[in-house]
Structures are given as structure tokens and as C-alpha cells.
Assembly symmetry: C2
Homo-oligomer: 207 residues x 2
């Protein structure tokens, strides 16, 4: 498998899970600074012009929640998505879905406001940026209060959710979220950062 990634993006989640399962994979960096994600070459890989994308022997996959579960399902012994238990798996899926459709979306209003308003409307773009600490903060507080069981997201069992939460938790200070309000999330992030798989994935992305 080959992972197209960009540094400091949600592609890190899939990267960590590829390390966790011990997959045979390679990575290819896409430079956002050079807007390589919009190049004709990359649009053939992912017409949406986003990372991550995962090239498999069956075809190309996109969207983090789909990719995380695909990698877990491809290495069933690791049981990283709890797929044998439909309800536990649904909880994994609900968590990932909340992260992609709420938490990550709230974050995106800081730097990607032109997805939703005219790029020339700087007042609206700035209004979105001002709203980020509250919107992202509330999403993390929901994770803290209702979702993160501890020690891992789903309790005793490490899952793909941990890689995904850790990845989005990289950005919370820059988003203006107050760490003291989400101590479980911060503790989780610290423990994740000490895992060999996480260290290796991050080092590879920043190399």
C-alpha cells in the first residue's frame, strides 16, 4: 500500500495505523505549499484534491474513516476496529464520524473558510476564524465528556479511534482550545506520543 500524505494533516491517522498493524507500505509526500494537491497528476489519484489517499492493489481509497477501517480489516488479527462485535464496531464508527464531520470541520474554518464563503469576503473569513476556539473547543469537550472512556478511546482496547483523535489533537492549541478544559484528551495525546509507532510515523512525515 502507498499512502499519499501531507505533513500536519489528518493523513497522520492512517499513517499511524499502518505502523500499528505492521503493514508493508510506502509514503509519498504532497506539498501543500506548492498546492500539489491540485496538480493534474494528483487529481488523477484523488479527484477531490485532498489528502490522504491510499493506493491499494484493489484501487485507490480516500476519506480517513474509510481508510482506517480498511487497514484494520485487512489485518483482522490486530482487531483495531472491533469489527467482530457489530455494536462495538458501530461505536468506533460513530466516533470516527464525529471527528470527520464535526471536529475536523470546526477546525477547517480557521484556514479553509473559502470552502464555504467567497474568498473576497474577508470579513466573513475572519468571523469564521474567530469562531474556531469555541467550535473546536466544544467538540473536544464532547469527546472528553462523552466519548473518551480511557485509557483508550474505546476503553481497554486500543483502536483506530486513538490514532485519529491523537492526530486531530495536534492542532488544538493553534485552534485556541484551552488544554486545561480537556485533561483526558491531553493525557491521551501524551501517552499516544510515547508509542513507537506514533514516533516513527511522525518522524517519517517530517523527514
Amino acid at each position: 500500500m502507498k499512502l499519499y500524505y501531507a505533513a500536519h494533516t489528518c493523513s497522520l491517522a492512517t499513517h499511524i495505523v499502518l505502523e500499528e498493524v505492521g503493514a508493508d507500505y510506502s509514503v509519498e509526500r504532497i506539498s501543500f505549499a506548492a498546492t500539489q494537491q491540485r496538480s493534474p497528476e494528483f487529481l488523477k489519484i484523488n479527484p477531490k484534491g485532498r489528502v490522504p489517499a491510499l493506493v491499494t492493489d484493489k484501487g485507490i481509497l480516500t476519506e480517513t474513516p474509510a481508510m482506517l477501517v480498511y487497514v484494520a480489516q485487512t489485518f483482522p488479527k490486530t482487531n483495531l476496529a472491533l469489527m467482530d462485535d457489530p455494536f462495538a464496531f458501530a461505536r468506533v464508527q460513530a466516533f470516527n464520524s464525529y471527528l470527520c464531520s464535526h471536529l475536523h470541520v470546526a477546525h477547517a474554518h480557521r484556514m479553509r473558510g473559502t470552502r464555504w464563503v467567497d474568498a473576497a469576503d474577508t470579513q466573513a473569513i475572519e468571523a469564521m476564524q474567530r469562531g474556531v476556539p469555541k467550535a473546536v473547543g466544544e467538540a473536544f469537550e464532547m469527546v472528553e465528556r462523552e466519548m473518551l472512556k480511557g485509557p483508550w478511546v474505546m476503553g481497554e482496547h486500543f483502536t483506530v479511534c486513538d490514532a485519529y483523535l491523537f492526530t486531530l489533537a495536534q492542532w488544538l492549541e493553534a485552534d485556541g482550545v484551552v488544554p486545561a478544559r480537556i485533561p483526558k484528551v491531553i493525557d491521551h495525546r501524551k501517552r499516544m506520543s510515547e508509542r513507537a509507532t506514533v514516533k516513527k510515523a511522525i518522524a517519517q512525515e517530517l523527514a
Copy 2:
């Protein structure tokens, strides 16, 4: 199973799939007009204050992509999520993920702008509303061009993706999307609307 829903929301997708699998289920309406989704009673069901929520004998589930796959997995013979084939399943998941994190989010900027900016900033709220036709239109055009294989989303096989796309396609005219630009989506919506399961779910929600 018991589905908490509100009329004209994405809860219709799970409702249709409950019909498709022949589940034994009941529905309970949440009135958005009375902001019942924020009532202390409903917040015990779903702390996020949103529909849908699905009460199962194992616990409560939220988030449409998770619920759709859970219902499909609970009735494996229907094969509505193609779960036996990891790559096909990942494609189902990627589609659902795109709908929840891109298409539905773009739509939400029309009526739920206060999720991201201060409610008092009417200029920014209105800027978001003006951006909806373009943002939602581009998401539907991506579905039209890159995802909807035909006759169903995943090709010959009807899946949960069809129920989800149909549900979000209910709103496209109100969002200012030009139907002529997405003929396959419009044709899909028409064929979906003729299914007995879809008719029954809609009739039940509007009763």
C-alpha cells in the same frame, strides 16, 4: 430498535435502511420547532442534541454512517454494506464519509451558521448562506462525476449509500443547486422515490 428522527433531516437515511432490511423497529419524532433536540430528556439519549439516534438492545448509537452500517451488519443477508469484501466496503464507507463531512456540512451552512460563527454576526451568517449553492453544488457534482456509478451508487448492487444520497438530495433545490448539472443524481433520486421502502419511510415521518 427505536429510531429518534426529525422530519426533513438526515435521519431519513437510517429510516429507509430499517425498511430495506425488514427490521422490527419503531420511530419517535423529535420536534425541531420546539427545540426538543435540546431538551434534558433528549440530551440523555444523545448528548450532542442532534438526530438521528438509534436505541438498540446493546445501547444507543448516533452518527448516520455508523448507524447505516450497523443496521446492514445486523441483517447480513441483505448485504447492504458489501462488508464481506473489504475494498468494496471501504468504498461504501468513503462515500458515506464524503456525504457526512463534505456534502451535509456544506448544506448546514444555510441554516446552522451559528455552529461556526457568533450568532450576532449576521453579515457572516448571510455570507455563509450565499456560499451554499456553490459549496453544495460542487459536492453534488463530485458525486455525479466521480462516485455515482449507476444504476445505484455502488453499481448494480443497492447499498446504504443509496438511502443516504437520496436523503441529502431532498434539499438540493432549496440549497440553490441547479438540477440540470447533476442529471444522474436527479435520476437516482427519482428511482429511489419510487421504492416502496422509501415511500413508507417518508409517509411515516410526515404522518
